[in-house]
Symmetry: C2
Subunit: 230 residues, 2 copies
């Protein structure tokens, strides 16, 4: 399970050197997107012979049966790497099914260290890191979305559990408005965008009331949102 | 927010080289334990002049007022590093209060990438990474402990949310027995121990029924536990 970068930061800033040694020993990769996977591997080592590698694409349309067949090299004793488009495979990204099949068949599944917007935003938010939940995307339909948000806010208070969620980059500006419109004014909201980008990273915690006075500027950039009771 | 290793693995295997460049530029560190922090810094760069550095110890006994004073260098424009004993500061470890105070005072809080037993065990478990919760320790008292475990198991089924929790190393063997005694036989349990240790890492997912037939051997080693509906 191979993490990849989550920004244009130099790879040395976010990926341990040991990962690259491991990558050099792998010829079969299951990837969310072949083009970005090739680009990542070239950045890891410009001498890698990309054309000698085999890629299997894993996305929403891939059948369970095909995923199992992607693991064929394991049955011959060869390692298979799993990479998503950004960050940690299997966490808010494809890859969990691959790990699940490998586990079921008794293969060793090895996770490598790397950047995760979930963990990194939590570290910097100042919110409770002894109890937290990642919830993916909220529902799209407005009534359901409001209900889901209120439920997460209630859990943040009732369980003292930091609540983390995401939205697609092009909807983030509207999503921020939605959050400040429906959360309690005293609730703390951390907005983390462009994590690990040396120029543009921003991770800021404020009460919803403060955010209303100084709104976040999120124009089509990757961001993650966290809420906590005060 | 500076992650440190979670095993005796070579630092290059788990810490990006960029972190070490950043560490070289810091003279003030808030740390969970001064002795282990010094050892980590020496491993990062054997030429670091440890005696020229200032350490502030942060643990359960540290007062909020003292923590604020540890951030004094920030007010003079100097960076302050935060390190816990292992893994990511502020996540299942001290450090969140430091980040919270820095956020409140409007300082930039920068998280660095590194190993996290929570994220890495989740990646390798094969469990749902679109919805998961970290719950820290279960209560110690037996009745409360059983109730808390059943509640987490219910949430795993009701919310399709992977539930993650920890126990102290010396209690892990008993904790494993407790889990297999009280979870439903069909519930999936991932036991992850000694993550990133090149020799001893073990991350295995099985149903509770299967674990009962092949119990985990957890003798005083760091471990983390994850459950999922089948």
């Amino acid at each position: 399970m191979i993490p990849v970068g989550i920004s244009d930061a130099p790879l040395d800033d976010v990926i341990p050197a040991g990962n690259i040694d491991i990558i050099r020993g792998i010829s079969h990769f299951i990837v969310e997107n072949v083009r970005t996977a090739r680009r990542f591997l070239k950045r890891c080592d410009k001498n890698i012979d990309i054309d000698a590698l085999t890629f299997y694409e894993l996305n929403g349309h891939t059948q369970e049966l095909n995923i199992a067949s992607f693991l064929e090299p394991l049955r011959s004793g060869l390692p298979v790497g799993m990479m998503s488009e950004a960050g940690c495979p299997g966490v808010a990204d494809p890859g969990a099914q691959v790990a699940a099949i490998a586990q079921r068949e008794g293969f060793r599944v090895v996770p490598l260290a790397g950047p995760s917007s979930i963990l990194m935003s939590l570290m910097a938010s100042g919110f409770n890191g002894q109890g937290f939940a990642f919830n993916g995307y909220l529902p799209i339909e407005n009534d359901k979305r409001i209900k889901a948000l209120k439920e997460l806010e209630n859990r943040a208070y009732r369980l003292s559990q930091t609540q983390i969620f995401i939205e697609t980059p092009y909807r983030n500006a509207k999503f921020f408005e939605f959050l400040t419109a429906h959360l309690r004014p005293e609730t703390l909201l951390c907005v983390a965008s462009q994590i690990t980008d040396p120029e543009a990273e921003s991770i800021i915690t404020r009460s919803v009331a403060q955010w209303k006075k100084h709104p976040a500027q999120l124009t089509k950039m990757p961001a993650i949102f966290l809420i906590s009771k005060p």
